[in-house]
Amino acid sequence: MATLKELSKREELLAGGHRLCAGCGASIVVRQILLAAGRNVVVSCATGCLEVSTSIYPYTSWRVPFIHSAFENSAATVCGVEAMYQSLKRRGKLPVDEEIKFIAFGGDGGTYDIGLQSLSGGLERGHDFLYVCYDNGAYMNTGIQRSSSTPLGADTTTSPVGKVIPGKQQYRKDLTDIVEAHHIPYLAQASPHNWKDLTHKVEKALSIKGPKFLNVIAPCHRGWRAGVNQTIELARLAVETCFWPLYEVEDGKLTINYKPREKKPIIEWIKLQGRFSHLLKPENEHILRRLQEGIDAKWESLLRREGEK
């Protein structure tokens, strides 16, 4: 596993000058992942902020081979690339000593929702690739519309806080659980505030053959309505409140990678974000309570599962 010193000496594979917002969580996530992955990777990316901001013709930020084809098919596209790799390797048309890894990126829109089928297909067929969802909890690229990853109660442009309905009415989908049901060799949740955990997970994932999945929280200060300089703090608090538990499942064995000494109440995370400001009003206390209940239930179930033998 690479140390911070080693990582810091590696070449940045996502060049600066891209047009992602200052303080964008996605670019921090991608840079950490590529530092851990190294040069011998081919990247596919779903349509979204990451894609439109890093590859504006005639420029590209990608110092590794990169393909974007559409929104719902980052997984299927990378599966095609990987299939060609397997075929050409078998036919002796690629250098024998050159091993290439495959990483697909997608936001929560491209992964939880429109790309779920393509992801599921790729996982089930057993392609050798790592899928990374950078989860910012809404369709940020099209202007902060709700996704199935949007937390309960959040104010988005399609789940607005109105006179009658106070924000998103549903719990978020547990994609990591859905992925786990595919019984792939490795999957994990990670956060950019804990670079060590994230980069180690990438290194571990890429050392394993077959489909792997990483769900990485990627705060979006525009959509979350927080400060540009709060990205890492928001990621940290998401973990400290157990909204975003850091855990991994390797060959079916679940390990919680970080347990807060004192689990913070969700309000600590909520109060920094404008998208939840209405939840601080007394009349919406029940939503906050429901949100806390959902988080508690998931955390308890993870603790229980980790203890199981």
């Binding site: 894609e51 590794v64 990378v78 075929s87």
Partner: protein
């Protein structure tokens, strides 16, 4: 001289794929093209090809995987029909826009609703503006021959476009016909080695596929795509010429039959040509000067060549196995008629929409078309510009 065999269109095409031995195939089953990939999966399972087969979970993912695979740098093929092609629609444009020479068999079938599994051209015609070269086949032999030629056309440096080869669902795909296969070695030599351009798998030279292309460049890229389509025309003819030298079977943008001295003609696309030839022969015996033109290449559309071939006619009936609801007529009609507009005088052109959802086109129907053409020739008047044939009204 090839080996004579009896097989269905689907199996013929699967055998072409076996001989082509593509690097990657990604597909999803749909009637009536299912058998192509089913047979091909057997070839994979029996080790008769080295292909990596991706059994995708949908046609959208199948075409997405084809795009990824082709960009990675190798030969890629697939097959589909009807709703499967419709589900790929978004990705068809992305395949051609990225200039990826994927080759796809489209076993033409009617689009839903109502759901219908039989042969018509509404799927292929719906994709006519997607930037794919489109070649249509009359029978299993042509489907086989066209698929092999499609590989060479698409991969040509001047072209670099995806190619779809159509054959009518069930009528061709499921009917057993006599045909000749080339030897495996002949096909291998004919298609040559695939030379990838800017492959993703060359990690020493990283490239970016599918960038965001805004007002400052998008138009130029689309213009280049249009140019590639134009440049495909001489390539299609050259490949046909080479193929004729190999097989003895001649192909062009279209095929004509008893057309040179004809005053009237029927234009078809796909499997109906056989019936039309039969009826035309009978009419000729009666002294009716009617001929046939069978369009093979719909994209790029051979406008100038059609002008030269059809200019001498008095009346032309264009047969469309597809409607274009609310348009002047079927898609083939609209384009053929537009092609002839510049000629002075130009033939009277009428349209027949027929055979939707696989309904049979019989001898009597074509006889009716010829009677109509005779009336137009004699009176100089068109009574019905668009007639729905083979339908209860």
């Amino acid at each position: 001289m090839g080996k004579p065999v009896a097989m269905t269109g689907n199996i013929a095409v699967a055998n072409a794929m076996r001989q082509i031995n593509p690097d990657v195939c990604a597909a999803y089953p749909i009637t009536p093209s299912t058998e192509v990939m089913q047979q091909f999966a057997s070839f994979v399972a029996d080790g008769k090809v080295d292909t990596e087969l991706v059994t995708a979970e949908s046609e959208h993912s199948a075409m997405s995987a084809c795009i990824g695979a082709a960009a990675a740098g190798g030969r890629v093929m697939t097959a589909t029909s009807a709703n499967g092609l419709a589900l790929m629609w978004e990705m068809l444009y992305i395949a051609s826009g990225n200039r990826l020479p994927i080759v796809m068999t489209v076993v033409n079938r009617a689009l839903s609703a109502p759901i219908n599994i039989h042969g018509d051209h509404s799927d292929g015609m719906g994709a006519r503006d997607s930037g794919w070269i489109q070649i249509y086949s009359e029978n299993a032999q042509e489907a086989y021959d066209n698929l092999i030629q499609a590989v060479v056309i698409g991969q040509h440096r001047d072209v670099r476009l995806p190619v779809m080869v159509g054959m009518d669902g069930f009528i061709i795909s499921h009917s057993i016909e006599n045909l000749e296969l080339l030897s495996d070695q002949e096909v291998k030599d004919f298609i040559g080695e695939y030379l990838p351009l800017y492959p993703l798998l060359n990690i020493k030279q990283p490239v970016t596929y599918g960038p965001l292309d805004l007002q400052d460049y998008y138009s130029e890229h689309k213009r280049q795509q249009a140019e590639a389509m134009k440049l495909a025309k001489p390539v299609i003819l050259k490949v046909a010429q080479d193929f004729a030298a190999l097989s003895g079977r001649k192909y062009g943008f279209f095929e004509t039959y008893r057309l040179d001295d004809a005053e009237m003609a029927i234009l078809t696309l796909g499997s109906s040509a056989g019936t039309a030839r039969f009826v035309i022969d009978r009419a000729r015996e009666q002294g009716v000067k009617v001929g046939l033109i069978k369009l093979r290449v719909f994209r790029p559309f051979p406008m100038k060549e059609l002008q030269a071939a059809l200019g001498h006619l008095k009346a032309l009936a264009v047969m469309d196995r597809c409607d274009s609801f609310g348009a002047a007529g079927g898609p083939v009609f609209s384009e053929v008629r537009s092609a002839l507009y510049d000629l002075s005088p130009h033939p009277a052109v009428v349209n027949y929409i027929y055979g939707l959802g696989g309904r049979d086109l019989g001898i009597a129907h074509i006889e009716q078309v010829i009677r109509d053409l005779q009336e137009i020739r004699q009176t100089g008047c068109i009574r019905e510009l668009l007639t729905y044939l083979t339908v209860r009204e």
